[in-house]
């Protein structure tokens, strides 16, 4: 990836973060922490990797994305809005009555959402079904699943991991947003799922470990995953929950709390600072 491409992604990721903050702030509820930790990866996917058409969201040949950790809907919505699936202005309507932006993703209400999610532990199975359909049809699309690291405490994740490995679903690419936090605290404090990499490898998956906020690593990971032809791939992405907002970073209390006015202003100022210096660099 060249410098300009990387910078453009960094710029878009800032805009996506601002959209997340705006959505959650206006909704007065929602999940900023896990949205911010996965923002870079979802930005990369929709802007650099996935075959999608905002004019034709149900395009048969499109790549699919299942946001298995559906509570971070604001991250997906912000990326979809910036990609042109709907107006960025709509982000303010998150969680409001009559909004197309439900608290958790709804595939029938929001253009660009491929699966309704929200109940943790189900998305990897759904994505495996999509990948199986691609295999049966000989279709070339990829299916991406975004998992939380706390989410993999759900047993069904391992049912899906076993199935995808056993059936060699090579077009399935799962991302594990490894921010080390869940609602009640750190993974270790709650119920450690570690070691994670070894478990997926044991279930017959390719494994790629990256820094979730380094676009060069993200880029090479997804390019490598796209070329795998025998097994599903897990991208284990070490991330920082709340990434980009100093007081939210690595603090489990920002899992599901909206910022107040003062906090919102500070958060926005921090992201805007980064954004403007990137834009200056770009000129």
């Amino acid at each position: 990836m060249d410098i300009e491409e990387r910078r453009n992604l960094q710029i878009m990721a800032c805009k996506v973060r601002l959209g997340i903050l705006e959505a959650v702030y206006n909704a007065k509820s929602g999940h900023p922490g896990g949205s911010l930790s996965v923002a870079d990866i979802i930005t990369y996917l929709y802007f650099n990797q996935m075959k999608v058409d905002p004019e034709n969201p149900k395009w048969e040949e499109r790549d699919r994305l299942v946001l298995s950790k559906g509570h971070v809907a604001p991250a997906l919505y912000s990326v979809l809005a910036h990609k042109g699936f709907f107006e960025v202005e709509l982000l303010k309507s998150l969680r409001k009555v009559d909004s197309i932006l439900q608290g958790h993703p709804s595939m029938h209400l929001t253009p660009g959402v491929d699966m309704s999610t929200g109940s943790l532990g189900q998305g990897l199975s759904v994505a495996a079904g999509m990948a199986l359909a691609a295999k049966l049809k000989g279709a070339s699309y990829k299916t991406y699943a975004i998992l939380g690291d706390g989410e993999i405490q759900e047993g069904q994740i391992w049912e899906a991991a076993m199935f995808a490995g056993a059936k060699g679903l090579d077009s399935l690419i799962a991302v594990l947003d490894n921010n080390d936090l869940q609602i009640d605290g750190s993974l270790e404090e709650v119920n450690s799922p570690y070691p994670i990499a070894e478990k997926f490898v044991a279930f017959g998956w390719h494994l790629i470990e990256i820094d979730a906020h380094d676009f060069d690593q993200i880029d090479s990971a997804f390019k490598a995953a796209a070329n795998n032809t025998d097994k599903p791939t897990l991208i284990l992405a070490k991330s920082v929950k709340g990434k980009g907002v100093s007081f939210m970073e690595d603090n489990y209390k920002w899992h599901g709390t909206a910022p107040n006015a003062e906090q919102y202003e500070q958060a926005v100022a921090e992201v805007r600072d980064v954004l403007s210096s990137l834009e200056v660099e770009n000129e």
Binding site: V66, M107, Q122, S125, V126, G129, L132, A133, F163
Partner: protein, 315 residues
């Protein structure tokens, strides 16, 4: 009407899938290590490339079915009713019901007629669970002819369908010309004193009850309510108008099943006594399936008793 043929609805299910698979190339069948019992094994034999065994993982199966359905497949996912509706309830609700996906849940071994396996496998709660999911269609065929028809109708229907099949061989009550329509109850016998509304294997027993009542000079109307959701409200309304009293009969808990659906509707739109024949809020037990039906009062004698009570309760 022929009393000679006795086939379990699960067998008809397996055969219908094979028949359907010949013309519907989009059809995929999933099972969770019960294909010999659910009879999806027949489909596996015929179309191995369109059959997937997910192993003993019912929740996973329902969500894989959902994923396949998003890509345009019609998917039948099978297990025992206990595990399809019970274990995987939340997956069915959130990943199939909420997104209204084209998944057909082929649930076999419903009710106490499962027999020797006992209470852990005798699911009498599945209709109650599935009824609460918006947009879910629930079909409970009475014999093999209706089971086959229900499978074809389910495949044609856009959206989720729960199909309830039994383990026990049951007498055929419908002939080859039988026409099945989702949501359209079938009147098997006209009558004016009381209406017996039955579903699944209780339809045969209800016809028997109607004969016994006739011998005592009671003229009962008999309805086969093969579709529990959407309920044929017009049929219930007419039954109340014509007979003023209803008895329901199902191989399911009296809580939340056909009887509840009929009573809920009747109390609001056509008040009349509605008495239920069903499993009286108890767990099943081991024994021969047919004997258990009697033990739990799922028989003609009990329907007759309830019919007389219902008539007494009329104003």
């Amino acid at each position: 009407m022929s009393n000679l043929v006795k086939i379990a609805t699960r067998d008809a299910y397996g055969q219908a899938l094979v028949e359907l698979g010949k013309t519907n190339k989009n059809l995929i069948v999933l099972d969770a290590d019960l294909s010999a019992a659910t009879k999806t094994g027949m489909f596996k034999e015929a179309f191995p490339e369109r059959f997937f065994n997910v192993g003993i993982a019912e929740c996973n199966m329902m969500c894989i079915a959902a994923g396949l359905a998003t890509s345009g497949h019609t998917v039948f996912a099978s297990s025992f009713a206990m595990f399809a509706a019970g274990r995987a309830f939340e997956q069915v609700r959130n990943s199939i019901g909420y997104p209204h996906l084209n998944v057909k849940i082929g649930a076999t071994h419903a009710g106490v007629s499962v027999g020797e396996d006992g209470a852990s496998h005798q699911c009498c709660e599945d209709i109650a669970l599935m009824r609460t999911i918006p947009g879910m269609v629930i079909l409970n065929p009475a014999d093999d002819v209706e089971a086959r028809a229900a499978v074809f109708a389910a495949a044609k229907h856009e959206g989720p369908v729960y199909l309830r099949f039994g383990r026990l061989a049951v007498e055929r009550i419908n002939d080859e010309n039988y026409e099945f329509e989702i949501g359209k109850a079938v009147t098997l016998k006209e009558g004016k004193d009381v209406t017996l509304i039955a579903t699944g294997l209780m339809v045969g027993r209800t016809l028997e009850a109607a004969k016994l009542l006739e011998n005592e000079g009671i003229n009962a109307k008999v309805i086969n309510m093969h579709t529990i959701k959407p309920l044929d409200k017009e049929a219930v309304l007419n039954a109340v108008k014509e007979t003023g009293a209803i008895v329901t009969a199902e191989e399911h808990s009296v809580i939340g099943g056909l009887g509840s659906a009929v009573a809920e509707f009747a109390t609001q739109e056509a008040p009349a006594p509605v008495l239920k024949v069903g499993v009286e809020d108890v767990f099943g037990r081991s024994g021969p399936g047919a004997d258990l039906l009697d033990l739990f009062g799922l028989n003609a004698e009990n329907i007759v008793d309830k019919a007389k009570k219902a008539i007494d309760l009329k104003g």
